[in-house]
């Protein structure tokens, strides 16, 4: 058959038109679209089966329960554990992106000496030399961990001092510890039983204590009600996130919170609004009004409001003896709804500042926040996972990252009940990193092992037969067949919660009303504050929204 030019054209046109009635062009278009989504420089998520593991967060001392989704052995998502009786599924905003922190551009991966790369051998030699010359201090940011027992054991055997850098929440509890003769590490707040909380600037709804504990309580008993079951009165110079959501907000002048607490105490005593007898505060209402910028009527109104719905609890963000004395006056010490003594005995740690800091060297644990800068001429060995900016550290020593180290998490500083978590090492420890406990064990191989210390703590809890272990369902400790089975549960992310503190377990005696010391001003704070290393996604909070001010890095 002869194919004419006309046939060829008709055939070509027919095929062209016909193709559009087949899936070919549409499939081609789809494939091209998908191809354009997969340029080589576009990162691809990991593939493979996803498994979920539970553990505890170690970013701060709050010990939040974490549910970690893992793919190809890497954490790819974090959420809270709704069955955790303390956090009830809540996490802080940073916790949701914490799995990205191990790849943070400021992650420390090599030893640095005065800014230059050095080796672990050099760091070890320098520390051994310092120990030989002495005296040396080891500073722990979260006492009570199994790793802390290694630091303590080293300190005891090598004539060095074991010191702690207390968190602001622990410092706020210090006056009760001194007046009551009890360890500060055993004190907490019974928020669940109180009906009025007077916060003297504590950011209760913005990162204070354990995320989820107070926020859930506030949400269930206070939010949106004009006459809430739980009254939150915020005393703070600026309209903070907590002040914005409080039932009442008072704005005294910055630094005058202590004076206001003393003035309120004076009103309570003068008008016989409380039955407790304490020494009279050395302040007059007129002077207090002048200092705080509030009227005398406002101070009186605040005092009446405090006792209207009891129990009432006053909370300070940091050490403030006047606020602590106010709690003594209000009868909020050692009672339900007040400052309580937890059942498990804790050691009384000595703060670093206690002995003037005359050391040859100071070794700082990676749990100590960056704003802790020892005011000393000592040689500073600073363990850290991320470079927190300018510091006075002579040696920067990289320590294991998030979820890279097996550790335990003791009770959070503000908790009313004892808790114990084990944070498993879900990912392998990064090359070139060593924890402080591992570093000291290299110097002295006879030091106790962290894993064994965790095991013996679990045995200790098992022997008491008190409390319950909360996994998906709570199991009383007495129902476990062995300590090992209980430990296995804890290693899988369960949390042990002890029994509620006994009422009247401790009391404080005031010999005189504490002198009012002005609280730290924001301007003072800004000089020493170092921005923590945030997950990159935290930029959503301050750059791509106006929720928070951008963190400023401290100048080196």
């Amino acid at each position: 058959m002869k194919v004419s030019r006309r046939d060829l054209l008709i055939g070509t046109a027919g095929v062209t038109a016909g193709v559009f009635f087949t899936p070919v062009p549409w499939k081609l278009l789809g494939d091209v679209s998908i191809w354009t989504q997969n340029w080589p420089w576009i990162p691809q998520p990991p593939h493979g089966p996803v498994e979920t593991k539970q553990t505890a967060c170690t970013l701060c001392a709050a010990s939040c329960g974490l549910r970690v989704r893992m793919a190809e052995g890497w954490p790819v998502g974090i959420s809270g554990v709704s069955t955790n009786p303390v956090t009830k599924g809540a996490l802080c905003p940073l916790g949701f992106a914490a799995h990205q922190l191990n790849w943070h551009p400021r992650r420390l991966r090599e030893v640095r000496h005065h800014g230059y790369t050095a080796s672990w051998t050099e760091a070890q030699s320098a520390f051994e030399k310092a120990c030989a010359e002495g005296p040396v201090a080891i500073v722990d940011g979260r006492p009570g961990r199994a790793a802390s027992s290694v630091l303590k054991a080293f300190a005891a055997r090598h004539k060095t001092s074991y010191r702690v850098a207390l968190s602001s929440e622990s410092r706020a509890l210090t006056p009760y510890a001194i007046w009551g003769g009890v360890p500060v590490a055993s004190l907490g707040y019974d928020l669940e039983s109180t009906r009025t909380i007077v916060s003297f600037g504590a950011p209760l709804l913005d990162g204070w204590g354990t995320p989820g504990r107070f926020t859930r309580l506030w949400s269930e008993r206070a939010a949106g009600s004009s006459d809430p079951q739980l009254r939150l009165i915020q005393i703070e110079p600026t309209l903070s996130r907590t002040a914005a959501r409080a039932w009442r907000w008072y704005a005294p002048r910055e630094g005058s919170e202590g004076t206001l607490a003393s003035a309120v105490a004076l009103v309570l005593l003068q008008e016989h609004l409380v039955s407790t007898q304490v020494p009279i505060p050395q302040v007059t209402l007129t002077d207090a009004a002048a200092q705080t910028g509030l009227s005398v009527e406002s101070i009186r109104e605040l005092a009446h409001m405090m006792v209207e719905r009891r129990p009432v609890l006053a909370i300070a963000p940091d050490i403030n003896p006047s606020v602590a004395a106010l709690n003594v006056l209000l009868g909020a010490v050692g009672k339900p709804g007040g400052v309580v003594l937890r059942n498990r005995a804790s050691a009384s740690p000595v703060p670093f500042e206690a002995d003037g800091g005359a050391y040859r060297a100071v070794l700082i644990d990676s749990t100590v926040p960056w704003e802790f800068v020892p005011q000393t001429n000592a040689e500073v060995f600073r363990f850290a996972t991320w470079d927190g900016g300018g510091s006075k550290a002579d040696w920067l020593l990289p320590s294991p990252g998030f979820l890279e180290e097996l550790t335990d998490v003791p009770t959070a500083p503000t908790s009313a009940a004892d808790t114990y978590n084990v944070a498993a090492n879900l990912v392998a420890q990064s090359a070139g990193t060593i924890s402080p406990a591992q570093f000291l064990t290299k110097i002295d191989s006879t030091l106790p092992d962290t894993e064994k210390a965790i095991h013996s703590r679990c045995e200790e809890i098992f022997k008491t037969k008190l409390g319950a272990v909360y996994a998906d369902q709570p199991t009383p400790v007495k129902e476990f067949e062995s300590a090992q089975k209980m430990e296995d549960q804890l290693r899988k992310g369960a949390v042990w919660v002890g029994e509620a503190p006994r009422a009247g377990s401790f009391h404080c005696t005031l010999k005189q009303w504490p002198a009012t010391t002005p609280t730290a001003l924001a301007s003072d704070w800004a000089e020493t504050w170092a921005a923590p290393v945030f997950p990159p996604l935290a930029a959503k909070l301050y750059q791509e929204s106006t929720l928070r001010e951008a963190p400023a890095r401290r100048q080196a």
Binding site: P43, P45, R69, G80, A90, N102, T242, Y250, P536, L537
Partner: protein, 250 residues
């Protein structure tokens, strides 16, 4: 059963902590934005904005409003304008789906959205070296030049469907499908559920006298409801939806 997924956000319980924003970004593989990104050029499928009553001193009050795709049910504006059919309303769930593979980046949908809840990928997605290992395997990374928005964590919905299929069920277990922002909220301010189910807590909350929807007068029937007992917040919420980048006062 045909579902209509939606939310009721209790503004009286929102503390503006931002956990929903971070959890959303981590779940949906949103990259960290370059330093030059702004609230409009960054990608925040869930964005919390601050509202103020505009008074001074102790009378001043602030509140926070999380804004996300409103999942419009009626005459969905972004669907109507998209020349690529890159936006579709899933008939079985009511979820307004953005399909980035089809998007050509014309941004008509961004102009059409009355709630300013859509975001354009101005930059190639980039993470610090190694951080791509932390990405969620269930969500593909979007490239530069396409629009994105909240799709109520549709990957989680697929996961719940798969789980139901394995168990031989036709309906998903509501406990298996919870968007990341709902799960993350520490005060439980965000209630999520099926608005087509009259007994679902979210439906009951949506019909409470304190609930309202943004720009209700334009008739798009959003499936995101808000709730507050305070009139000034209610009044400002609408104003904020229209002018998201301006400071909002009564």
């Amino acid at each position: 059963m045909i579902a209509r997924y939606g939310m009721v956000i209790d503004l009286d319980r929102c503390t503006g902590c931002g956990a929903c924003m971070i959890a959303c970004a981590a779940e949906n593989n949103v990259p960290p934005e370059p330093p030059r990104a702004t609230p409009r050029t960054g990608i925040t499928p869930m964005l919390v904005r601050a509202l103020s009553n505009g008074r001074d001193g102790a009378d001043r009050r602030e509140a926070f409003i999380p804004i996300t795709c409103m999942q419009c049910e009626n005459e969905t504006p972004c669907v109507a304008v998209c020349p690529q059919q890159a936006v579709e309303v899933d008939k079985s769930t009511g979820i307004v789906m953005q399909i980035p593979q089809r998007c050509l980046g014309c941004r008509y949908c961004m102009t059409a959205c009355p709630y300013h809840a859509r975001y354009f990928n101005w930059w190639d997605p980039q993470w610090p070296p190694g951080m791509e290992k932390s990405l969620n395997p269930g969500v593909s990374v979007r490239m530069r030049g396409v629009v994105e928005k909240c799709n109520l964590c549709h990957t989680r919905f697929h996961g719940a469907e798969e789980k139901a299929a394995v168990a031989g069920r036709k309906e998903i277990d509501p406990a298996d499908y919870i968007p990341a922002c709902v799960e993350a909220c520490p005060t439980g301010a965000i209630l999520f559920g099926n608005l087509a189910d009259p007994n679902d807590p979210v439906t009951l909350a949506a019909h409470s006298p304190d609930s309202f929807r943004l720009l209700e007068r334009i008739g798009t029937e959003p499936k995101i409801h808000y709730k507050t007992t305070q009139d000034w917040i209610r009044a400002l919420a609408d104003k904020n939806a229209n002018h998201p980048t301006e400071a909002q006062h009564v």
